[in-house]
Symmetry: C3
């Protein structure tokens, strides 16, 4: 209970710009809180009664379209009894016409109790958080950070594997530009995990992240092919985007090499958990969907649960009683 109290204190009124701003204990407290919203494992998410955020308003400012992230936050806020306003796309907003982001934030904070900001410019969320008198949640700022994606990834792994320590986690696909790969890798450094990175040479880990790993006394194993990755508990897939390859032939070759199907995953056994931030195009074959470890749609649903917990903690509700999960 003391821990819950601490969590509430640690999150109340706080902005969420980067996973690096949160300690291991704070992250675990958030994941614990999320569990309380996840009462029914195969049913709907839990809706608190009476709705604790009734009358509170979340502003969703999407200067870049991201329908999944937007709808997931909206669902979380609505399920808590709150309301949502904002825009889905800078093209349909007249807010930004020649106006600085700082001015926009100073105006919008008069309309709502918290802001979710998606912006193409790296650092936009930090600037907004420093400007606003209300909490700002980063819903993705360029290639930089998308902390709630990392929180829901951690939540999904922990709920499915029962723990975070002691896991062998492989990342496969675009290791160079995949924002989710970098963010989750950084967050996993809080835990005792073995990291494997599986990707084509021209999309290998950025040197910066390698050094970051080394500085934390970790050394991720980098291999080119899944069969060389050794044993894995978790396989985190990402999409390889055509535009990374000047030569379309190279893309075609790589696209097929970094695609998994049921046969390719068989050696890892039933324990393997497969995650993907979605949307997938063809990098995970449809015959994988029925495997018990195919968690990507559950992972997407968990996004609502983790965001419910986050909004609940930030906007200051009392922590609900622990779930029995």
């Amino acid at each position: 209970m003391a821990q819950n109290h601490d969590a509430t204190e640690a999150f109340r009124g706080r902005s969420v710009v980067s996973t690096a701003d949160f300690s291991k204990d704070e992250i675990l407290a958030l994941l614990d809180a999320a569990r309380a919203f996840d009462r029914y494992h195969d049913g709907p998410v839990w809706t608190p009664q009476p709705p604790e955020l009734q009358g509170r308003v979340l502003g969703t400012l999407f200067f870049e379209a991201s329908t999944r992230t937007r709808l997931s936050f909206e669902s979380a806020m609505l399920r808590l009894g709150g309301s949502v306003l904002g825009f889905a796309d800078a093209r349909i907003s007249s807010l930004s016409k020649g106006e600085s982001l700082v001015d926009t934030i100073k105006v919008v904070e008069g309309y709502c109790d918290a802001i979710v900001l998606r912006h193409p410019r790296e650092g936009a969320a930090r600037l907004a958080a420093e400007t606003a008198h209300i909490p700002v949640i980063n819903g993705g700022d360029g290639s930089n950070q998308h902390p709630t994606q990392t929180f829901l990834d951690l939540y999904t792994i922990r709920e499915a594997a029962g723990r975070l320590d002691g896991l062998k986690v492989g990342f496969m696909g675009d290791l160079r530009y995949g924002r989710t790969v970098h963010s989750l890798t950084e967050a996993l450094m809080h835990f005792d995990v073995d990291l494997k990175f599986i990707g084509p040479e021209n999309l290998s880990l950025p040197q910066e992240l390698r050094e970051h790993l080394a500085a934390h006394g970790r050394s991720g194993v980098e291999v080119e092919h899944l069969q060389d990755a050794g044993d894995l508990d978790v396989l985190y897939m990402t999409r390889i985007q055509a535009e990374r390859f000047p030569d379309p032939m190279d893309y075609e070759r790589v696209r097929h090499a970094y695609r998994v199907d049921r046969a390719a995953l068989e050696p890892f056994g039933e324990k393997l958990k497969i995650l993907h931030p979605l949307p997938r195009v063809n990098e995970v074959a449809h015959d994988v969907d029925d495997l018990p470890g195919a968690l990507y749609f559950r992972q997407s649903r968990n996004g609502v649960i983790v965001r419910m917990a986050l909004l609940h903690l930030i906007l200051g509700g009392a922590l609900p009683g622990r779930g029995d999960a």
Copy 2:
């Protein structure tokens, strides 16, 4: 009361893809339930207190813009105390970027309790309903089905005429491509009605629907001009679209021939009910609006009532006490 109980059982958790999926009894049960939300004949619709769908979320996925259908569903859900999320137009959604409809549905079902889907592709709603673990309501799939439009058409006729059996119903305009004409014609086969079809030769009934009528022992009378239609209780107008005519001159001629004004409707007397799915362009003259039988705006308002009843039945609320209407 037993019937109400049956209706609730028949609809709870069910998808609504095609009117053909519903029996005559089920359709009548829906129309009865709608009456309970239509307390005030010339005032606002009835809002249940306390709001029965509080905390429930409707996802409105409009891969094709249809502002009327979208706002009507949203109004219905909000009046029941529920909430709405989604997108109004595929152009502003990033959901579909290379992602299959099946994947999109598996993601979105994590955000909400029911989905309204509008999609340009015929069969999209059926596929979505087979995929989702939550109810999917077809808000129009290409030229195929738009079942709630048919339900509200039936509701409007029945409330205004006091019955469905024994009516003479004429359809006028685009009989070939008019989705509402086909759908309502099919649904009216449950009832003892006389059908008349009034339209230009090149936009006459599709052979398929003619055979369907014949298979049910009906033979709709087809005429080219309204004055040859004989007596009518109901005239269902539809818009003729310019793009159906390669020669603009043909369109101009037809457009004027299939336009009604107060003078043209006089022979049918005061009993004539005039319906139109809207928007109208010029096929119903403005001098018709003040006729007591001009029901098209009421028909639009009834859309909210029928959708309230449908959401209420599908999402499992107890049936409200019957209205006194």
Copy 3:
């Protein structure tokens, strides 16, 4: 209390098309009511419990994008416990396809309890209000009227200066095309104020407004430069738009001449209140933001409060107890 009762009666079910439709007493009653929603001067706006507009729906029909106005109305409605539906931009609406505004209004009034209309055509709000059976609030019709902007401007000045009578109010920038300038000028004629107009020659007051002033026995002083305006209690800034100037060089010259910074405002002392309808581009320097009289962001926040009061009065709630502010 009698006055409150009168205000409720005067506003209930009423459309808001033009400030000229409201008497001085009605305007003051609205400003008084707004104060009740403004409990916490530096905190969030006051949310009534229980939410008085629960189950009521506001339709926001924006045929022209205006994100600020839309979000401000949405925030006001949501904070009162109501809901919102509509569209943000005519481009994403299919409502207007060949349909008359009158038909659109007759359809939409079936979906909601009040409409906020933004339309590029002058007179659109009046036409809509005459058509609808529910209240229509003008959210800006072309270069004509935007009455709630004027109400929030009056509220901001009165709260900050403690009164409206006896003030010296200067307007600076585009006096010719600035809709807010004309509207607020007209409304201020109800009060004993000194008006000064500061702007370039080619953007001076329209002759019509000059005659209007004269007809009310007022004569606004017109000067070209701020330093010639004499003493001021309030400076209302507006943006000068490049498209008003055929020659870009003229625009550049004027743009710099009608820009204020902290140094330029020093002569007016600490009492000066600075307003701006926003967005600003560069006509108010950022070093002005920290002055105690820089009210433009507060003015924007007050928009929510005044619109809460207006929706509360129009949709017929009982007036809340007076605030102690």
